[in-house]
């Protein structure tokens, strides 16, 4: 392992020497709009680029996740997965054309997840440039339908239908360089819809206001007592509604997530919120619907798992400070299937969720070296030990 680590700083310079190719991949893929459920065009570009870089196999699985395989030297070692989600939060009507300056790439979705996907398709060429080969097959998967209502369907399907064991996995996110995710909280993502009929005014003495009703829902959620252990929280993340300033709102929508490192606690909080929603719906005589958009189970590898320890060593060798947080991404699906995995970020930036998100170019090269270091660690057997 130490010999792998020693090579890493030199890798950074070699990777930087092909920055044009890496940024080109980021741009050519990132400029193709790919809202969740409409990833087809980006999938095609992903496949074209992989084929162009001469991976040994290039195909899609039954769910249309595009996959490239670089054959390993061993007949017996299970494959290593490297994945990045292809979908973004931006619709096709948004300008996806990127601006590149000396040290930045700016544009919609660049931080979620164009950098990650661009790096993923660049890996075959980066391996060649670094003269690297692996015992395991390296499976490069761009997974679809990850975000929001996508509910990680792409990765769920890919792993469910993958016929052989998987040795370990690295999930790539554009940001933030230094993150190391090796555990996932249990999570339920919900929406509450409040709709008040515009016609039946006679039903109400005072016309109810959808926004105020959701406000009441929020107040009741905030009154819930959440335990410190297991660590639990409710994040109120989205709200929308109403028509215009002087008109009572007839529609409103509230989006939130329940997160906890205990699945039981997630379920319990969900039931409490369900009661709140039903109660307020009755009280105000309005249509109030609670919908579950997605859910994942809590899963983790231990902080002293060899994969985590090796990843931290790789990061430290590259002068990166590891920051560990839970992640509700592809990682959770690997972990729930007992496949050791980590999520890593590639670079720094700003305005991550903004239409003009900015990614820094220069830190990317360390971010990529770190991914390669972890793949090498998995190939050397750190996931085989437990």
């Amino acid at each position: 392992m130490d010999s792998h680590l020693d090579k890493l700083p030199a890798f950074v310079d070699t990777i930087e020497s092909i920055k044009e190719m890496i940024i080109t991949n980021i741009v050519l893929i990132g400029q193709v709009p790919s809202p969740t459920f409409k990833e087809k065009r980006r999938t095609s570009v992903f496949m074209e680029r992989l084929a162009d870089f001469h991976v040994d196999e290039c195909t899609t699985d039954g769910y249309r996740n595009p996959i490239g395989v670089i054959k390993g030297t061993s007949e017996t070692k299970p494959p290593i997965f490297v994945v990045a989600h292809l979908d973004t939060n931006w619709g096709a009507d948004i300008d996806h054309y990127y601006t590149i300056k000396e040290n930045s790439i700016t544009g919609a979705g660049v931080m979620e997840n164009s950098i990650g996907v661009g790096v993923l398709v660049s890996l075959p060429e980066i391996f060649r440039k670094l003269n690297l080969s692996f015992k395991s097959d390296i499976v490069l998967a761009g997974v679809i339908q990850s975000l929001g209502r996508g509910n990680l369907r792409g990765i769920r399907h890919l792993l469910k239908t993958w016929a052989t064991p998987i040795r370990g996995a690295v999930c790539i996110e554009s940001y933030d360089l230094g993150r190391i995710n090796y555990y996932a909280d249990g999570m339920i993502r919900c929406e509450v819809d409040c709709n008040i009929s515009a016609n039946n005014e006679w039903e109400h003495k005072f016309k109810p206001n959808a926004i105020l009703i959701l406000n009441e829902v929020i107040n009741q959620i905030l009154k819930l007592s959440l335990p410190q252990r297991p660590r639990s929280r409710v994040i109120i993340g989205k709200i929308s509604g109403g028509f215009k300033h002087g008109t009572i709102a007839l529609d409103a929508k509230l989006g939130f997530e329940i997160q906890s490192n205990s699945d039981k606690m997630v379920k319990s909080i969900f039931n409490n919120i369900k009661d709140i929603v039903e109660g307020i719906g009755h009280e105000y005589e309005v249509e109030l619907k609670l919908k579950t958009l997605s859910n994942i189970s809590a899963a983790r590898i231990k902080f002293n798992h060899p994969l985590v320890k090796s990843t931290v060593d790789v990061m430290r060798k590259l002068d990166l400070t590891p920051i560990s947080e839970p992640s509700e991404s592809e990682l959770s699906i690997f972990l729930s299937r007992k496949i050791p995995a980590v999520t890593l970020g590639i670079t720094h930036g700003e305005k991550h969720q903004h239409i003009k998100a900015v990614a820094e170019i220069e830190p990317m090269f360390k971010g990529i070296a770190q991914i390669i270091g972890v793949i090498m660690a998995i190939d050397s057997g750190v996931c085989d030990e437990e």
């Binding site: 050519l28 990127y98 590149i100």
Partner: protein, 331 residues
């Protein structure tokens, strides 16, 4: 007279391509090497800091590092006040200020000037000219223009068209047409005077490539008229068969307002008429005026906004001794 009697309609079918016909880059490189050709990409710029890096980077990655189709990327800049030159240099292009090329000559400012001067600083047998403001830049914009030049011996000049172009064959009808100036100015003029040239679907597109031997013997207007005059001159000297056009799919660039397009149209009409006079095809009793006059409403008063065009034109660069010396050529 009907246009039909002079139209050589098979040209559209024979000399119109789609970029996908040239996406076997390995083959293009092989053929380039077999013919011992060198190829230069020229990007004329004026304040293009938002798009220039992306163009250089993609071309360098795909058409220099991965497939050695291009031998150089050259930026010819018209005194940009933003960071165009700095950014272009940092991404590995050879950057020149137009004023620094052939400095002993009288200086003009304009796109045509940059294209003309590029002939002096580039080395290629083939020169690809690409506007530097393309938002959806892709390497097809270059390899598709080079493809016909390398693969077909009769083709010497290739023009791009985009987006909503052409219908060839039965049941394959897509709306034709270019931008507003093409449809409102150039196409009517071509229809009136050179019906054959109407087959060039977007004569004003800023993306074209050709052999040096073509570019060095034609004059270059210094401004907007360069594309129009280039087509007229090439058509006049060699005929339509040396020209091809390639569908590049989509091109997204800055939208210009009607007033700006009005100025562009003015210059193009002026260039067109001057060419007709030069070719002896029409005779004007008086000189043309050289000012485009538009009006602004300022504090309830209409004030003229006058845009003056000198109509300067660079001679064929082969006529410049310094060029002949550099490239070891004679008149």
């Amino acid at each position: 007279m009907t246009a039909g009697c002079v139209m050589k309609s098979s040209w559209l079918e024979k000399n119109t391509f789609h970029y996908s016909e040239f996406n076997d880059l390995g083959r293009l490189v092989e053929e380039k090497q077999r013919k011992n050709l060198t190829i230069s990409l020229c990007l004329p710029t004026l304040n293009e800091e938002k798009t220039i890096a992306k163009e250089i980077l993609i071309m360098k990655s795909e058409l220099m590092t991965r497939y050695p189709l291009l031998d150089e990327i050259v930026v010819i800049d018209s005194e940009s006040t933003d960071k165009t030159r700095e950014i272009a240099r940092s991404f590995g292009a050879d950057v020149y200020k137009a004023t620094e090329i052939l400095p002993a000559l009288e200086q003009f400012k304009g796109k045509g000037e940059n294209l003309w001067k590029a002939l002096y600083v580039t080395k290629g047998d083939i020169i690809v000219y690409l506007d530097a403001d393309i938002k959806n830049i892709h390497h097809r914009f270059v390899y598709a223009l080079i493809g016909p030049l390398i693969l077909f011996d009769n083709i010497k000049y290739v023009k791009a068209f985009y987006d909503r172009p052409i219908a060839i064959g039965k049941s394959k009808i897509r709306p034709t047409g270019g931008g507003r100036v093409t449809e409102l100015v150039i196409r009517p003029l071509f229809s009136l005077f050179f019906p054959e040239l109407t087959q060039i679907l977007q004569p004003l597109s800023g993306e074209y490539a050709g052999f040096r031997e073509i570019f060095e013997v034609i004059p270059f207007p210094i401004g907007y008229g360069v594309e129009t005059s280039m087509i007229l001159d090439i058509y006049g000297k060699w005929g339509l068969d040396v020209i091809a056009q390639v569908d590049l799919d989509r091109r997204i660039h800055r939208n210009q307002d009607t007033r700006a397009l009005g100025k562009m149209a003015f210059v193009i009409i002026m260039t067109f008429i001057n060419r007709k006079i030069k070719l002896g095809l029409i005779d004007l009793k008086e000189d043309l005026f050289n000012e485009m006059i538009q009006y602004n409403l300022v504090k309830n008063e209409y004030k003229p906004d006058i845009f003056q065009i000198q109509g300067h034109e660079r001679p064929p660069i082969i006529e410049i001794p310094a060029y002949r010396d550099k490239f070891n050529k004679s008149l």
